[in-house]
Symmetry: C2
Subunit: 252 residues, 2 copies
């Protein structure tokens, strides 16, 4: 008989309770900042022990749906997850999936390209001088020869974050954060290996000018150019990785 690989029939009670509370939050039975009963009281209500309740609560805490404080005025409170919380969480999940090869680099690059085109179209219409200044400051920083590779990469991220912020659309900001950050490790690798900073800076300057002049054609061209370069670098990185792996395989 082949092994019966049905996932699990028995959902743990902790998981069930967590799901029940989560539903109460999403459907509005539990409102934001509302205090849940104490752990002891919840344990009594659900007829389980306190550690079981705690496991359930920790599952929700992991999703930033609740927060807890000790003390008399403490307890467990419903929390509206902030975009930062969810972005951070999502980002780490995506980063893991990327490192596990769930997503292909070229697929991510394509998505980022298209999404960044969307961003720049919106940004051209709405960019304020604040974002232009932030981007200019990052470009200026990047020209500093004394900058370490890490600092350069961080500045690169901030530059693109400013571009996204210029859309003034929180949903786009939320979405882009994922792909920008997911690409970060790979970009780092590319920059560390090939470190053609000047090329990157020129592209940033082109994007910035297009944004300042609200020149759509120029902006799209700048983004395209940037992505062609990124794609080339990826191809090199892939080739390099393939060679390394085949060497490793040959050695074994």
């Amino acid at each position: 008989m082949a092994l019966n690989y049905e996932p699990v029939v028995t959902e743990s009670v902790a998981k069930q309770i967590a799901e029940q509370i989560r539903r109460a939050i999403t459907n509005g039975t539990l409102k934001v900042d509302e205090k849940l009963p104490t752990e002891a009281e919840l344990a009594r209500q659900f007829s389980v022990s306190r550690p079981t309740i705690r496991e359930a609560l920790k599952r929700l805490a992991a999703k930033s749906l609740i927060r807890s404080r000790r003390g008399p005025a403490g307890g467990t409170f419903v929390q509206a997850p902030s975009t930062e919380d969810v972005s951070q969480d999502l980002m780490s999940s995506v980063a893991l999936m990327v490192s596990l090869g769930v997503f292909d680099l070229t697929e991510i690059a394509e998505a980022r390209h298209e999404l960044e085109l969307v961003c720049i179209r919106l940004a051209i219409k709405r960019r304020s001088s604040a974002e232009l200044d932030r981007m200019a400051a990052e470009i200026k920083l990047q020209t500093d020869e004394a900058l370490t590779d890490e600092e350069f990469c961080a500045s690169d991220v901030r530059f693109h974050r400013a571009l996204v912020d210029a859309t003034h659309n929180p949903v786009m900001q939320f979405q882009m954060f994922t792909v920008i950050e997911a690409l970060q490790p790979v970009e780092n690798m590319v920059i560390f290996r090939f470190r053609e900073r000047q090329k990157i800076i020129e592209q940033h300057e082109k994007i910035w000018r297009a944004l300042r002049d609200q020149d759509l054609a120029e902006a799209e061209d700048a983004i395209d150019e940037q992505m062609v370069y990124l794609r080339e670098s990826f191809a090199q990185a892939k080739e390099w990785r393939r060679n390394r792996d085949s060497v490793k395989a040959a050695v074994q």
Copy 2:
């Protein structure tokens, strides 16, 4: 003195351990399907009690990073989160944020519009007959007068899912899933209230034809048209909600 509202200085031990294990997974120290030490062993290694370890593990389980089985060959195993897992999770978070008003409807609609334009541009180049057939089947289904509103909405979602799948880019699929699902409740409301199915079906047909003929201009036009309609409906929905709230306020 104003209340000192610094979140928390003391990160709980369980959280720290969870983070430590998570890092071990992301940086490859722990590989997928690898077995973690038993809870008792982990408790010994981290010098904490087993329930504390369990709280840490449950945080990771909530993020689909590990799975557990009982028995001699059981234990805790590293798991590569599937796109389904993460999508599902993300979707519920975003849905909650939408219901809490973190995102504005117009912002979501704009993001969806732009992203769907991206999708259709990619889809036009890559759509296979499989996706065209799926979309055609949904359109056919939608013309059935006997369909309930719920079924119509579900079919609408499947139609757009097929459109996204036609991009053959998992990252785009992943991203779009969020906005499509996040919009779902609102769309339902709009359809339930104004139920102009025929208009929606005509738009679907236009999109489908453009995709079949690989006619980019027509496709973009179809998406634009669809979004103009959606925006109008949103404006009505907002107005309706505003009136309801002001009435409610007046009554109180």
